[in-house]
């Protein structure tokens, strides 16, 4: 029986070929556009988040109490030994780094600028956020005598400095005196995390300790986990062990990025609703007309003993075939395009300057999530289902005898 229903449905669709093809093309085109948009836009947001996590906040950051409100060398994490032990022993933790930081001034012979000086260990930074991959010029090293500095790209532009140039970095040390050190610029990084690119001067941790006169303690411990889902649990564990410290998630440090992600999800939702709403209208029109023009046919079928349930089955099958073919075609097309951009990235170098202003990477790698396809599937099915309800009601109300006699 089911096979007969399918065959009848298929035959009626084939009879109005251009109409059916048009509906399938419409569904697949809208799906294609939607998938592409979701994948690329999500790629942009996720890349910004990943840049912030990799270059600065990690997934979790630990600070001494009061440091966030009033950063200074008098508010350092002193128990970093214990923390290191705990983090090193936790299998959920992928990597962590320790940074020492202080406001300061970087000056060349001609120009000077307020900066944030970070004392770091390059080897662990490389493991943590692959800081070396952000390097645009120079080398990922502070040189043999540790007198090198790696600075943010925008800062380099503003100071008009190149690799190998001298940079005088001065800051207030823990004795409240201003001390200075002459460094050579060994590398320039562009993280697309605007704060860092504008003002970061990375120097060797030991050099920083010397400059700030802080033999012990760190300003920030940054943790990256194996899996994103463990963030709350690890935050909790750390909180229990070190109740005095401030332990913040990336989205607490960069609320704007989280807001961006939430806004993007909302936007995708609205777009999907809008597109599938309109597409549903298209399916509705086709199904309505195809039921109306076949009233007589259905009348005869009912008169010779076909049950209404079977007729309903035919109509549902028709709209299901349309929706499903559209979904498959659109998913294949959209999935393939997304996969291309996932592998090769979407290169927007021509808008480089503008994207930089937003703190975005020039090349965006698309994101592909199964949820795109499942929501699209549900939406298409819902649209096809809802769009036949009204035609079915019309059919039910109409009298078969009248329908047969109608010319």
């Amino acid at each position: 029986m089911f096979r007969t229903i399918c065959r009848i449905a298929w035959a009626s669709l084939a009879r109005r070929l251009s109409r059916s093809v048009l509906v399938v093309v419409m569904i697949s085109m809208s799906l294609w556009g939607l998938l592409l948009m979701e994948g690329i836009y999500d790629g942009m947001t996720e890349q910004m988040i990943s840049n912030a996590i990799r270059s600065d906040s990690g997934q979790l950051s630990l600070f001494a109490p009061g440091f966030r409100e009033d950063p200074g060398l008098n508010r350092l994490i002193m128990q970093d030994g214990e923390i290191t032990e705990l983090l090193a022993g936790d299998p959920r933790v992928k990597s962590f780094v320790r940074r020492l930081r202080q406001d300061g001034l970087a000056a060349t012979a001609h120009y000077s600028r307020g900066v944030m000086i970070y004392g770091v260990d390059l080897a662990t930074e490389k493991r943590q956020g692959r800081l070396d991959t952000y390097l645009t010029q120079g080398e990922y090293s502070f040189g043999e005598k540790k007198r090198g500095a790696i600075i943010g790209a925008r800062l380099a532009e503003k100071l008009k400095v190149k690799i190998g140039r001298k940079l005088i970095v001065s800051a207030q040390n823990s004795e409240q005196e201003v001390s200075a050190v002459a460094l050579t610029i060994s590398g320039i990084v562009r993280t697309n995390n605007m704060g860092l690119d504008e003002s970061a001067v990375f120097i060797d941790m030991d050099k920083a300790r010397e400059l700030f006169m802080t033999p012990a303690g760190v300003s920030q411990i940054i943790v990256i986990l194996q899996a994103e889902k463990d963030i709350p649990a690890v935050q909790n564990t750390l909180g229990q062990h070190f109740p005095t410290l401030q332990i913040l998630r990336w989205d607490e440090l960069y609320p704007a990025l989280m807001q961006g992600r939430v806004m993007m999800n909302g936007f995708n939702m609205v777009m999907s609703l809008l597109i599938f709403g309109v597409a549903g209208l298209g399916i509705f029109g086709v199904m309505l007309v195809s039921v109306l023009e076949r009233l007589r046919e259905f009348g005869i079928m009912l008169a010779i003993g076909t049950s209404f349930a079977q007729v309903r089955g035919i109509i549902f099958t028709e709209s299901f075939i349309l929706g499903f073919s559209g979904f498959v075609a659109g998913s294949l097309l959209g999935g393939a395009t997304l996969f291309y951009f996932y592998r090769h990235g979407l290169d927007l170098t021509i808008f480089g300057e503008g994207l930089e202003e937003f703190g975005m990477d020039v090349i965006t790698y698309a994101v592909i999530r199964t949820s795109y396809f499942t929501t699209a599937f549900i939406a298409v099915m819902l649209a096809t289902f809802v769009s036949v309800l009204f035609p079915l009601r019309l059919l039910k109300k109409s009298n078969p005898i009248e329908a047969i006699n109608k010319v």
């Binding site: 307020g114 704007a256 597109i275 029109g285 007309v289 300057e353």
Partner: protein, 406 residues
């Protein structure tokens, strides 16, 4: 006669007509409003970024913008002022001297921007004076009094009346240092600017930094801000090759391009919606045209030419398109106008705006009749072209076939 038939047909197939008009006018309204919103918000973002501090037109010595070193200063500010005296289109001309120093208070040392301004003229070219939060704004006679951003004051832990010292380099590479009293604290809302900028009166600055008659740049407030680009070019001509005159389009090229990128993504998003609408309109036209295959066959049989039928059907879709586009344009336009007068306020997105260096949350839409007409024209072409395929398709039937079409 075609017109009459077309109108009759539109009413005869009223369901198709209503759905088509509804869809098309909603889409047109969406396009008109989105464009107005994008243009308006971008214009506003640029305007506020320009007006807070950078200014519409900036005059520098040649080479300063690429290499802002002490060798590329404007060494004869008096000459620039004299040659631009009574220059048409300039409302206000004021010099600035920007430098970076290390501030230190009792507890903290923070690097910051230290700029000498002409307080009276500065009021007309930027929002510094209007952004006053505590204390008071500067006057030209102020000696060792500083006007600083709220975040900078916070970082230094100083308030109005407190003292702060600075160490910097003068225009002649000399060492400059002094103790300042905080006269006022401002907040523009641009976090980055507020946490870096500080200002003193130029006469005092000139003495401390050996900068008499020297400036890093001049800011020009045009009489008509929309003419900034032309004015910058005219000023450049007058001053000659020794100087550079740039409008905000050049000094803030990144922001201008960022807005363009945002528009492009906006249009791509709208484009996806349009593709769907295009197909839906095509499907509906196809349905209604197919319902009339017999009628068309009979028309052909009684001697109507294919050209005439084509014109008739096309006229229908043109009329429907026209009505929808006008309706949509009116709806979208009135929304654009309403929100132009009553800007949309986004208080919850302040964080994100701040990240992009934007200091406002109210976004008026841009009400530009020409742009609205352009959008309407685009939608009209789109709607008519969506009907072409069905019309050609039905016209391809032979009359006999058509009459027997079920």
């Amino acid at each position: 006669m075609f017109f009459k038939i077309a109108v009759r047909n539109i009413f005869a197939y009223s369901k198709r007509s209503i759905i088509t008009v509804l869809l098309l006018s909603c889409t047109t309204a969406l396009l008109v409003f989105s464009t107005a919103y994008m243009d308006g918000s971008h214009g506003r973002m640029i305007q506020s970024s320009v007006e807070i501090y950078p200014g519409y037109v900036q005059i520098t010595h040649k080479g300063f913008r690429d290499n802002p070193s002490l060798e590329n200063l404007i060494f004869d500010a008096g000459k620039v002022r004299a040659s631009l005296k009574d220059f048409p289109g300039i409302a206000v001309l004021t010099p600035r001297f920007e430098s970076f120093v290390l501030f230190s208070s009792e507890e903290k040392a923070v690097g910051g921007m230290f700029t000498g301004i002409d307080p009276e003229k500065e009021m007309h070219v930027s929002r510094l004076a209007a952004s006053l939060k505590q204390g008071s704004y500067l006057t030209s006679n102020d000696d060792a009094q500083v006007y600083m951003g709220r975040e900078l004051a916070k970082r230094l832990k100083v308030g109005v009346g407190d003292q702060v010292t600075f160490v910097g380099t003068g225009a002649d590479y000399s060492f400059a240092a002094d103790t300042l009293t905080v006269k006022g604290i401002f907040q523009t809302g641009l976090f980055d600017f507020d946490s870096r900028a500080s200002f003193v009166a130029k006469p005092y600055f000139d003495r401390m930094m050996a900068a008499k008659n020297i400036a890093t740049h001049f800011i020009v407030q045009p009489a008509d801000p929309s003419q900034a680009e032309a004015l910058a070019a005219a000023i450049g001509q007058r001053l000659g090759p020794e100087y550079e005159s740039a409008s905000w389009q050049q000094t803030m090229a990144g922001l201008v391009q960022a807005m363009r990128v945002d528009s492009i993504f906006g249009y791509i998003t709208l484009g996806i919606i349009f593709i769907v609408i295009f197909f839906v309109v095509m499907i509906f036209t196809l349905l209604v045209v197919y319902a009339r295959v017999r009628e068309i066959g009979i028309l052909r049989a009684v001697g109507t030419g294919p050209g005439q039928i084509f014109s008739m059907l096309l006229l229908e879709s043109v009329l429907l398109g026209l009505v929808s586009v006008v309706l949509g344009g009116l709806i979208g336009g009135s929304f654009a106008y309403y929100f132009h007068i009553n800007p949309i306020v986004f208080t919850s997105f302040e964080e994100q705006f701040k990240q992009y260096g934007l200091a406002m949350t109210a976004m008026p839409t841009d009400f530009a009749p020409l742009i609205i007409l352009r959008d309407m024209a685009v939608m009209f072409v789109l709607s008519v072209s969506a009907t072409l395929y069905p019309i050609f398709k039905v016209n391809a039937f032979k009359p006999i076939e058509a009459i027997h079409h079920v």
